[in-house]
Symmetry: C2
Subunit: 222 residues, 2 copies
Amino acid sequence: MGKEPEDTIASRISRVLADRIVRGELAPGARLRQDHIAEEFQTSHVPVREAFRRLEAQGLAISEPRRGVRVASFDLSEVREVAEMRAVLEVLALTHAARHLTPAILDAAEEATREGDAAADVEAWEDANRRFHRLILAPCGMNRLLASIDDLHAASARFLFSAWQSGWEKHTDHDHRAILHALRQGHADEAAAILQKHVQRIGRGPQAARTGGSREAFAIVG
Amino acid sequence: MGKEPEDTIASRISRVLADRIVRGELAPGARLRQDHIAEEFQTSHVPVREAFRRLEAQGLAISEPRRGVRVASFDLSEVREVAEMRAVLEVLALTHAARHLTPAILDAAEEATREGDAAADVEAWEDANRRFHRLILAPCGMNRLLASIDDLHAASARFLFSAWQSGWEKHTDHDHRAILHALRQGHADEAAAILQKHVQRIGRGPQAARTGGSREAFAIVG
DNA sequence: ATTTCCAAAATTATAGATAATTTTATCGCT
DNA sequence: AGCGATAAAATTATCTATAATTTTGGAAAT
């Protein structure tokens, strides 16, 4: 029991690096040096290079031939782009998932919403939020679609952590509750409409508010 | 002049393999043996492994740890899934591209449509069709979105080649012309609506028609 | 004849070594 | 001092070699 989905060294490295990039431990533009990373993970650089290809495909890193790999940078326009892609893809997924949703799933999603409302920091909120979305979308059973949405969620989380490095405050998520309410009543298209707007809600982080916009810090907050 | 976008061996291998998979030269489920491929490309297997990661991310191959890489298989439900993803993502792209479209671009797109109508085989038609879609969508300037659409187009082409291994017949593409007409009149949302239905048009290939459905052969024909 | 087990072959995954390229630092020149 | 050329260092990309795992083939036993 407890078997990993992928037990190759390359996949482990790519997961850890993706996590660091998303959390902001690795800043945009930072160089990813294969020998250093190989040393840290006690391996050779071959699996490190494979991990790089994965990060590249996820849009978390960019690779210039013979000049190395860097953490991808992003700006407000990419935040918008990801929000809009999430909007259409999550609506598509929910449309198909709706008829497979059970009361048990909706209860679990409501529990995730409660955990999100009670979250003390951004990390905890993000975790609960992602769980909510995954719970109500996974039953669509469309693997390619779900994989794309997952990558977009990683990008969203990255923007979020970048904007809210500190200063998180609790709040009640009315959208999630409205979505669940509509789904419980069997109004799938109403739920989808709320979800569509929900995901495109872009918030201004405390960073931008304090520094007066020297470096804009916006993020998807759904 | 004539500079390649990526001049690394791994990227070249991944392009060639992707092309073979899409064209059906490599059948679904076929094993991709790294040493054999390395020998063919006169390299070691290290860049081959990197190419595999790329193909995996594109959904063209699947890798089982310690058991090798195989060409991804697909069924009718995945054809539908790709069609629906293309529908929502291409509509999103067109919505943003519309205000950047110039008469020159629309003329080029019309030329691509004419080439598609005149195409003697599936390969030529697919090439022209993809060019049409790329031309009208690229001006949206959203790179992540365009990259996703490109991957989906590769999957579409794969389904198409699988269904129409032979027996292609010319036909006039009314959807493309209607889309261009609407765009020329400035009716972006009407164009988007046609595009949305256009991309979800799924055709029955001559294979399925002849063999009586022993192996279903359906494909997106837009 | 069929199944089970074991050994050989093939293949994957990783490590270590080498060549080629880019970056960084130093020195001389104006 | 500032600029440019050149040498040294660091880093990337690849190849060759080795360890570990899986598949294949065949022989023995039922």
